[in-house]
């Protein structure tokens, strides 16, 4: 009985290790694919469209509403202390430092990450990846690498858009509906948000999240069992793993940056 449990634990451990190993080999291969992308930027452009452009809408809507909610909630709390003038700072700081990068990454994992996994998984299931290999084209460079770099580029840009629209939403609610002084809103923000401490750190966060989310999505697609069940499981895993990774990494990064 005990030996069975031990053997099972061992095999789970070994398969986890080999999975980690495969994921890292994959990322090395994808980074090496940068060569091909520089020679053929068209590959990257197509992926920027399906990974980035198609995600704009959900990011924009979510950003606007998150900002509006922040404006409302912030106003109710701040007005208790007579600190409505700090509303701009509160909205901007929470968006730029946390909500922008984190929510963008979570939405990206749900919208683009799952699509990437499903697409690559189906390409595997329909032997398209094998087909490419047999045509002497490395699918890791030709198919996976452009998707990876598209994700890496898209997430920081999407996070910036999210923050912008969020601040705009906060301003709409705070300045427009609730009558917070406009100048105080913007000045408080500009006085309180530091370029290198807040903006650059938020940007670094979104780059890290983009890297991790796209990596997970592509790895899950490439490593999935090529059946309909395997693809659907891989898609679920992408969303779950990405979300957990983003939230965990966010804590670590926040502790490192602002601690």
């Amino acid at each position: 009985m005990i030996t069975r449990v031990l053997a099972q634990l061992g095999s789970v451990g070994v398969s986890a290790l080999s999975s980690i190993g495969r994921a890292h080999l994959l990322i090395l291969n994808m980074l090496a694919g940068l060569n091909d992308i520089i020679r053929r930027p068209r590959l990257l452009i197509d992926q920027l469209y399906s990974v980035g452009v198609l995600t704009i809408l959900i990011i924009a809507v979510a950003g606007l509403f998150v900002g509006m909610v922040l404006g409302l909630q912030g106003y109710y709390i701040l007005s208790r202390f007579g600190g409505e003038t700090a509303l701009g700072l509160m909205v901007a700081a929470s968006l730029v430092r946390e909500l922008g990068p984190v929510l963008t990454a979570l939405l990206f994992a749900g919208r683009a990450g799952s699509a990437l996994t499903a697409e690559i998984g189906l390409m595997k299931a329909t032997e398209q990846l094998s087909g490419l290999e047999m045509m002497a084209v490395d699918p890791k460079h030709r198919v996976l690498s452009p998707r990876f770099f598209a994700g890496l580029i898209s997430v920081p840009l999407l996070a910036a858009m999210f923050s912008c629209l969020g601040i705009f939403g906060g301003w709409l609610v705070g300045g427009g509906m609730l009558g917070v002084d406009q100048a105080a809103f913007w000045n408080g923000m500009q006085g309180g948000i530091d370029f290198s401490d807040d903006l650059v750190n938020g940007f670094i966060k979104s780059v890290v999240f983009g890297f991790v989310c796209t990596w997970i999505a592509i790895y899950q697609g490439y490593d999935c069992i090529p059946t309909s069940e395997g693809v659907s499981r891989a898609t679920t895993r992408t969303v779950v793993h990405s979300s957990l990774a983003v939230l965990g990494l966010d804590f670590v990064l926040t502790a490192l940056m602002f601690g």
Partner: protein, 157 residues
Amino acid sequence: MNKSKVIEIWVGGFMLAGIVALFWLSMQVSNLGTSYTGDTFHVTANFDNIGGLKTKAPVTMAGVEVGRVTSIVYDPESFRARVGLDIQTTYTGKIPEDTFAKILTAGLLGEQYIGLDPGGAEDPLKEGSEIMITQSALVLEEVIGQFLFSKASEGDK
């Protein structure tokens, strides 16, 4: 228009929008946009207590921003805080030497900044001058202490 052209345009728009968003954040939302590139001259002022003043806090005259706090150090000789101010060169020769510098707070809980009240002297502030007349930041505990003290002394009468 063929499909690949449409994709190119969308991607171009996406990249542009992202970069504009980043630029807007740096310029409009952070303090990067409010730090000027123009020339400045440097003056210092000594305060008994600077409260919560921080570097990069604005320096204003009649509410108009004329400069920024660039350095705050503790001077062990005089036991006071030595604050360095950078004033825009457009105001060279236009701020009297006996200007009064005080640390003010924007709103009840807002950021602290330095307000300058012009004096009446003929000679203006120059590069390296020191502002002689200063007023410290309002520290809440001290204000309350004073208030209680005056109430107590009123009660004595």
